[in-house]
């Protein structure tokens, strides 16, 4: 299954099927810091990704402050 990561943008291969929670654990990502998007659909933590569509893990943390 192709998984797109951002900042910088890159693609990795992950074995499917896998749950969203397991995918984030596997990549050591904090679930508070990202959204997981399958195709163009937001998916919750217990969803199982079957590898049929591209998966994007989108970071949500931004900002610089004076």
């Amino acid at each position: 299954m192709k998984v797109v990561l951002r900042n910088p943008r890159r693609e990795i291969d992950v074995p499917a099927p896998i749950s969203v929670f397991a995918l984030l654990n596997c990549l050591d990502l904090n679930r508070e810091s990202v959204l997981v998007i399958e195709g163009d659909t937001l998916v919750p933590g217990d969803a199982v990704l079957d590898g049929e569509q591209l998966v994007e893990i989108r970071p949500v943390i931004s900002g610089g402050f004076a």
């Binding site: 951002r6 900042n7 910088p8 810091s33 998007i37 970071p59 949500v60 931004s62 900002g63 004076a66």
Partner: protein, 310 residues
């Protein structure tokens, strides 16, 4: 996971609420939280003109979208900061959002109108880029509101932003900053009222809001924010949040309710007596305001080419 409201399939979990939502009810929850915040802190009256400080990122566009959906008279204002392609692309997202919905977007370009950009200002003043950027934005948002008759400036600061800044201010006990860290700063001495309607919603909520509401925004991070201490504070707070959901909201709202009033005198003492800047007329405690001093130092400097690592 099922939606808390309709029991249909959920698309997102909001762990601090111990709840899951479908798309429709997540968007409604976000709007309800903003309504609650506006009313609780008396942010905006019906009929007032609101200027949204827009960057092209998720928070400011979501803020604009929520306020419009709640019926507020809200226009946008975007500043070209000159941070290479990042600034150009950010402005394009802001412009696209406004044009697709027939909204008014005011614009200003730092290089064209003031003769410098953020990378050049950072080098000329030997300060971190976020300092020159924040100073310029605050000044120009205030000016745009005064010049164009807006009652209030709204920014897209969210719960994560406010919790991270609070964390930093508490770590170093910067009491004058703590006294100003409020969701509403009243209009005074030539400064327009400033409000932060998103402070009950997390950064993750705002990204999800944009995705579910069909709002395109710039996902890439500002290349000059790399290493910013507030990004590290956000990571630290999210480590706590994932173990103890609701910690960020309790930290921030608890501060507002139980402690913020104790620091307001520190902020007022620091502000001193304000008088108009000799050059631009903005309120300042000195002969020239901080922005005019920045213009004087940066506008004559050799333009700096942005260097990025990614």
């Amino acid at each position: 996971m099922k939606c808390r409201v309709c029991r249909g399939p959920a698309v997102i979990d909001v762990r601090r609420q111990n709840a899951n939502y479908c798309s429709e009810h997540f968007l409604r929850m976000c709007r309800d939280q903003v309504t609650k915040t506006i009313e609780e802190f008396s942010m905006i009256e019906r009929g007032e003109r609101v200027l949204i400080a827009v960057s092209g990122g998720k928070d400011s566009l979501a803020c604009w979208d929520v306020l419009r959906s709640l019926g507020y008279d809200a226009d946008g204002f975007v500043i070209g900061l000159g941070i290479g392609e990042y600034s150009d692309e950010s402005s394009r997202y802001a412009r696209a959002y406004a044009d697709e919905r027939g909204l008014t977007l005011l614009t200003c370009d730092l290089r064209e109108e003031y003769g410098f950009d953020v990378p050049t200002a950072a080098t000329a003043t030997r300060r971190v880029p976020c300092s020159a950027c924040g100073l310029s934005k605050r000044h120009l948002f205030d000016k745009a509101a005064r010049d164009n008759g807006y009652d209030v400036v709204a920014t897209g600061h969210n719960l994560d932003d406010e919790a991270a800044v609070l964390f930093g201010n508490v770590l170093r006990w910067q009491t004058e900053y703590l006294g100003r860290q409020l969701p509403v700063l009243p209009a005074r001495n030539g400064f327009p009222r400033k409000v932060k309607p998103l402070v009950r919603l997390s950064e993750r909520d705002m990204a999800a809001y944009c995705l579910l509401a069909g709002i395109d925004y710039i996902v890439e991070e500002c290349p000059m924010a790399a290493g910013n201490k507030h990004l590290r504070y956000k990571e630290a707070l999210n480590q706590i949040e994932v173990q103890s959901p609701g910690s960020k909201l309790d930290f921030y709202i608890g501060y507002l309710k139980r402690a913020s009033s104790r620091f307001i005198p520190d902020a007022e003492a620091e502000q001193g007596n304000l008088a108009p800047c000799e050059r631009c007329g903005a309120p300042t405690t000195d002969r020239l305001c901080a922005f005019c001093k920045l213009v004087a130092r940066a506008s004559g400097a050799e333009p700096v080419r942005l260097r990025t690592t990614s």
